[in-house]
């Protein structure tokens, strides 16, 4: 377990964080400039806290009281940077072996062949980083960090510079690292989808302070968090009743305020109350119930407001809870959408993400 209690004054605010991360993967979520990268740098030992204490599995990495400040090379913490920071003068193989070669054989938990296999790096080994694509570079950076056998992996928006298609291809690798290699992670991201692909546990940082921590679906509605969630992924979070499961068809039937939805299969007993997540750009607005369409789910609601948030056009629909739907300005005009109208929100079953139980 990682426990952090530090303060560090920065140019425009003071980072003051006290959190424990008992989960295999904890996501650090927050707007730009909230101090997320600073937090990782403090844990890695690349920045020195003004005061405080950082412990991992009981071992002290930094403590003003005990006058301990381990240099980064002795912390055994892997770091995957936003810009991969591969060594341009070394081949992929030598990049991978850089930290591995500095370990004594007894410290090595993974071998090169295993990691090359897991991240499918075989065809790249003789190349220089300059001749790799963004996704390939990030995979090599990941492998390089894993091969130092870290007891914690720090990830600073490792997918931020990649397009959506590549992100979707790398996330399964990250899941492997989490589940098969069992390396705990502190994962900084803007993207709700990315976070939920890996973990439900988040720390929400705002101007250097932890404004919420815990299960994502439990904190997503908090007033400090909701605007962030909406600005960076527009995830809609709805509490629903689980009605029935159909494992054969891979679907579950859920109900939200009297309206039923078909969601991906959820292996929990019917009767539970669970959270589901829906991205704002996965919802289609429609005036009349359509025919001959494969989408089965249609939530009926009344338009509350049409707003422009950070360059995105959002229609807020009251379906018993406020649902944010991302649309184009053309759609607003073509459908003549205005506040007060009744409207249908169409949602594909597999756009629905199953969250944790409602406590």
């Amino acid at each position: 377990m990682l426990s952090i209690r530090v303060t560090k004054s920065l140019s425009d605010f003071t980072l003051d964080v006290a959190v424990d991360c008992p989960y295999p993967v904890t996501a650090v979520f927050g707007p730009s400039g909230a101090g997320k990268t600073t937090l990782l740098n403090l844990v890695a030992g690349l920045l020195r806290p003004d005061r405080g204490e950082i412990r991992i599995d009981g071992e002290c990495l930094f403590s003003t009281e005990e006058k301990i400040d381990l240099p980064p090379e002795r912390r055994r913490i892997g770091y995957v940077f936003q810009d991969d920071l591969l060594f341009p003068h070394l081949t992929v193989m030598h990049n991978l072996r850089y930290g591995y070669g500095l370990l004594s054989p007894g410290q090595r938990r993974f071998n090169v062949a295993q990691v090359v296999d897991l991240l499918e790096l075989q065809p790249l080994l003789d190349r220089r980083p300059g001749r790799l694509s963004g996704g390939e570079r990030q995979r090599v950076a990941l492998g390089r960090a894993i091969l130092t056998s870290p007891r914690l992996l720090l990830m600073d928006e490792p997918l931020a510079s990649l397009d959506q298609g590549l992100k979707d291809r790398i996330i399964p690798y990250l899941r492997h690292i989490r589940s098969d290699l069992r390396i705990p992670m502190l994962y900084v991201s803007h993207s709700v989808a990315e976070i939920l692909g890996l973990t439900g546990q988040v720390i929400v940082l705002k101007r250097g302070h932890v404004v919420a921590s815990g299960d994502f679906f439990n904190v997503a509605h908090l007033p400090d968090v909701l605007p962030l969630v909406e600005a960076h992924g527009f995830e809609n979070v709805l509490p629903v009743d689980l009605l029935s499961n159909d494992a054969d068809r891979g679907v579950s039937r859920v109900r939200h305020r009297g309206q039923e939805l078909l969601a991906p299969y959820c292996a929990r007993p019917p009767g539970r109350r669970i959270f589901i997540g829906i991205r704002a750009n996965d919802i289609i607005l429609c005036r009349n119930r359509p025919e001959g369409l494969s989408i089965r789910n249609a939530l009926k609601g009344r338009i509350m407001e049409i707003a422009n948030v950070g360059g995105k056009h959002l229609v807020y629909v009251d379906v018993g809870k406020r649902l944010a739907v991302e649309v184009t300005p053309e759609a607003v005009e073509a459908l003549a959408l205005k506040a007060g109208d009744f409207i249908l929100c169409l949602i594909k079953t597999h756009s629905i993400r199953i969250g944790p139980d409602v406590e």
């Binding site: 980064p72 090379e73 055994r76 920071l85 060594f87 003068h89 930290g99």
Partner: protein, 225 residues
């Protein structure tokens, strides 16, 4: 083509040039790193002092070296007594003179090369388990090495042409401190020395041209990368 005295002059010049590079490279790396990466008070002043030999008349540099390193100079007694090195009127003094004069060229190239390396790469190396010295050596220095080569070639070329500081500091002693320019100067004032002057001048032009072309070639490759 060359007579034995002229070969001696050429050999001495090359030896002085190589030793000059070896002498100035370590301090150039240290100061280049300091100027490129560390913010401190008096940085501008240090930068100015390091570049002084570039604009100072070489004769003045030679005179200053003489006042510091001659036997009666400020450090001369120490250098000779403790280190057992005699510099004044010795070829090692010629090395020091050309090292000092060529240092700004070397420092400039090294500093630019270090500035061109992303400092975050070194931090990445630290998180991978490398100590500060190893990280500097395997990442920054390795990536800056073409710049180090350019600096070395420039300092070598500058050393081949060094005249003023050398003649003021170590005088013009055949076989000991008489490098190419000094030999040319001596032959010029000798009756019948014109042929020697022409040969040595040709050698000078060729050697300097090779060093400059080589450094430009390395610099180009560096820019392309």
């Amino acid at each position: 083509m060359l007579n034995s005295q002229e070969w001696g002059v050429l050999a001495l010049s090359v030896r002085v040039g190589i030793c000059c590079v070896l002498l100035s490279l370590p301090p150039a790396v240290l100061l280049g790193w300091l100027l490129a990466r560390i913010e401190f008070r008096g940085k501008l002043l240090l930068d100015g002092i390091c570049h002084l030999p570039l604009v100072l008349p070489p004769v003045v540099t030679g005179y200053l070296l003489l006042t510091v390193f001659s036997r009666s100079g400020l450090l001369g007694g120490f250098v000779e007594g403790v280190l057992g090195l005699r510099l004044a009127f010795d070829w090692k003094g010629a090395v020091l003179a050309s090292a000092v004069v060529g240092f700004p060229l070397m420092l400039r190239a090294v500093r630019l090369a270090i500035e061109g390396v992303d400092p975050r790469l070194e931090r990445a190396a630290r998180t991978l388990g490398a100590g500060p010295l190893r990280a500097f050596g395997t990442v920054t220095l390795r990536l800056a090495s073409p710049g180090l080569l350019v600096g070395s070639l420039l300092a070598f070329a500058r050393s081949l042409g060094e005249f003023g500081a050398t003649i003021a500091f170590v005088s013009n002693i055949p076989g000991e401190t008489q490098t190419l320019p000094l030999a040319i100067f001596a032959f010029l004032s000798q009756p019948g020395g014109e042929a020697g002057v022409a040969r040595l001048a040709a050698i000078s032009v060729i050697l300097s041209l090779i060093a400059l072309v080589a450094s430009e070639a390395v610099a180009r490759r560096m820019r392309r990368r």
